[in-house]
Symmetry: C2
Subunit: 113 residues, 2 copies
């Protein structure tokens, strides 16, 4: 998939992987890759600036630690980040259902039965 098609949803993806626990940048990339089945193979030049953006926005916090002599910056969601994620989810649903109406795909309610 053309990763640039992510347009505006990168933040949501990052927040969603961090929802499962704090991770450092490199691990986030791996997580995205594996969870997407290899479809999302995002370069560091995409991830790191995005994380800094999220940090600036207060959605994540970072902490340095040294593991095996390697510096790691571990990111974790803030309360604001959790809220942002919820918002992103909502707007994704909206976008998805709106666009789906035109492109023939709809997002049927997950039927929480």
């Amino acid at each position: 998939m053309k990763s640039q098609a992510l347009h505006g949803h990168l933040d949501a993806l990052l927040l969603s992987v961090l929802e499962g626990g704090a991770l450092h940048g490199y691990a986030i990339i791996e997580a995205l890759k594996s969870r997407s089945g290899g479809t999302l193979n995002l370069p560091t030049g995409t991830i790191y600036p995005a994380l800094r953006r999220l940090e600036r926005a207060g959605h994540v916090e970072s902490e340095w630690s040294t593991v095996n002599g390697r510096e790691r910056r571990t990111y974790r969601l803030t309360a604001s980040g959790h809220r942002a994620l919820a918002g992103e989810r909502a707007s994704w649903q909206e976008l998805s259902s709106t666009v789906g109406r035109f492109l023939g795909t709809d997002t049927p309610p997950p039927a929480t039965t």
Copy 2:
């Protein structure tokens, strides 16, 4: 909805409304508005440049006509536009299912069984 969230799918939406028949710019805006239930209220500054982009790309053709003294530029899909729409649909499905995997919404396969 924040319309800027459309990012990259505007073309697909335009192509899809034109799929139902040729329309002029203003009518396209109205069509998007009504089909989306009012969610998509796109300004002319978004639509017209997009249409020109599509025309430059050969996906639509335009024709001028005068109705009630008003100039209308009517756009219609070309063969290339139909193909492009199919492609857009496919990549939308891919994006939608990939992002959905992270944001909790999935686009369940239409079960072509």
